[in-house]
Amino acid sequence: MEQHITKLSTAAKELYDQGLYRKALDQYEEIVSAGVKDTELFYNIGNCYVRLEEYGEAKLYFERALVFDPSNTDALHNLDWINLRLADALIEPSQELMEWLSELFRGTLPEEVWMVVGSFVLLFSFLLLLWKRFSNRKINWRIPFTTSLIGIVLLSVGAISRPKITKCIVVEPNSYGYSEPFAGGKRIILLSEGSSGKIIRVQGGWSLIAIGDGRSAWFESEQWKRIYPEYQLK
């Protein structure tokens, strides 16, 4: 499996170097469908979309790359590069406290590391407790209590690090925002490719999305993609 993924990755890079960006993208998509999700992969997909001048999709993938590594400087640079070329002068939606904490923790250590370290500390606590109970040697109860507490905190940080992002991006050339969740509603906003918003509610193929300046409107869900988790808005 790993060999297959490496082969696909190498082929994708070669295709990219030859300027065959669509074919390179297909290879990268195949890696995604194999269950791989990491910052390099999403970053490379974003690059393919930039070369294909599909800036909405490109922005989406650079944002996804940053979900896995908020300190990926290449992804940050390319995201700035795209934002300069987007049509809409729109404020990015603000981050909620938990999203900010999540990004902060992920930026410090990957989610998996928090979880693994926390689990090992808890396992150590469990062993200490067994020893305390079954050994003649006396162990102060404060020691397993402290390690249990540290383990719980680390696991909680790991859980918070798990990205749950409500930000989504327009991936079509443009998207009309309606006052009501059907095409007969009044058109109140027109957003261009690459504009971002925050999902408030999803209802039958329509999503109520708030944009950075505080306005909100119903948009056709298929014209938007959520950054992470990456399932289609329904």
């Binding site: 990219y16 999700k37 990926n72 390319n78 998996e112 979880m115 090992f120 067994l130 383990g151 859980a159």
Partner: protein, 562 residues
Amino acid sequence: MVKKTGKYMLLVCALLWCTLSFGQKSEINASSSRTTVGLNEPFRVTYSTSEGTGQFRVPKFKNFQVVSGPYTSQQTQFINGSRSFSKKMSFDIVATKKGVFNLATATMLVKGRVLESNSLKIEVKAEALRENTSTKKSKASFEVEILTSKKSVYVGEPLVLLFRAVLFDQVRDLTILQQPNFENVLQQQLDFKQTSKRESVSNRTATLLDFDKRLVIPNKPGTLKGQSLQISAKVQVPSGRRDFFGMPMNNFVAKVATGKIPSVIIKPLPSPKPEDYSGGIGDLNFVRELSRKEVNGNESITLKIRIEGTGNFNTLSVPHLVEPQGFDVYDPKFNENIRYTERGVRGYKEFEYLLVPQFKGTFILPEMTWVYFNTSKERYETITASADTLVVVGGAPSKTHLTNDLGVPLTKREVNAIDDDIRYLQQGEHVSDQAYDLKSWSWTVVGLMLLGWGVQVIPRKKVKGGSTSRKKELQKLVETAFDSAHENRFGIMLNSLEERFLELGIAKENTSLEEITQLLGDAHGLAVHQLIERCQIAQYAPSASSGDHELLTEFTRLWNNI
């Protein structure tokens, strides 16, 4: 006398009145040789007056065009002592439109008075209905035609129009009345010397007179048609009279001929146009010239960017320099040399830049490309000026002369971004996300931790087995001491007994007979207590003891039951 004087006065007044009345009859008379004419059929309009002073002010002949004229004449006659004067001004004109038109009146300012002519009504029909014999005779005396160098051209591709008169008879005063006036076309008269040749045209010998050449560059696709060239000439025709010597006399009559331009298709440039297409059309070349590639710091480089060849120089622009880093680039000087020839617009346009090095080093003059449409090959062509390396050596530029103590230049080069682009692909090991299930693992260890705390509340049982090994250790210690006849063997035995009692909850100071019998029973307790006493005695008086072997045997027997 008074009566005579009155009669003279009346006579003078009568004469004065007559003079004034006669003066008021001064007028301008307008007359036309024809009142019904055909299109392009010349006719003569004459204005005459008997007024000797003043100048005619001729009207603008709206819807008509002057073929020749004005012809002026004056006549003074003395008949029976009376003087008469007349002045005439004539024009040969042709109608340019069908319809009925009133020719505007001519005026003349005479002694502060404005004299005005009568108006003439002229009916213009499509073709001439009646022609006099002389006109008929001159009907096919000359023709005019426009020859085009190509039948179809691309937008921006030059086309040459040749104006040719075909003269069957002797003509004079050849004049262009109307020339083609195209929309969305650049038209330029070419330097051209009139040429003529004799040829047979329609079984008649004719003189072909090429009298003008125009260069036409269309700006929009479509068809070049409909426009015509109209010329007039005076054609010699017999007057039917003979002169004093009996020779036939000729008259020259005005004649107009019209030639239409053949249809020329103007094709749009092929699509799709390259993104960086410059707008150049023709047979062109793009040149970037450097006066030198290696330069001293205090010298400069002259760089020329030039478009040369044949093409649409009137609309194309020379690309600006992609500036190299490390040089001051001054505003360019523009040079141009363009000639309009039969092959099109030839010459060059160029920008001349002066590059002054700022710093020592090797600098790249970036590659430049220029895309134009080649009309002969009918395709877009890209000309590339490849990247050059410019080396600044020796005699350091003034800006870097000043250095600090560390030899670092005081004036630093401002580092500007040449261009902006995204960054390259990242390489890394891709790991499948499905390999781990951290969530269930985390819950498992949390459960274990809770289990560990749960175990703590289970009551702890007394475990005796834990002291067994120590008991054996103590027994072995005692036996070893006795076997090796250790000098403190009785003390070791006593300590072992006391430690054992300590484990069983009897402190050293409490090893009384009562305590021991309470723990071990009367008989066994008494025996143990005696063993302790014997050990104490043997420790302080070894000679008084009954013997090591017996004591050890007794110890071993009792030890197993303690």
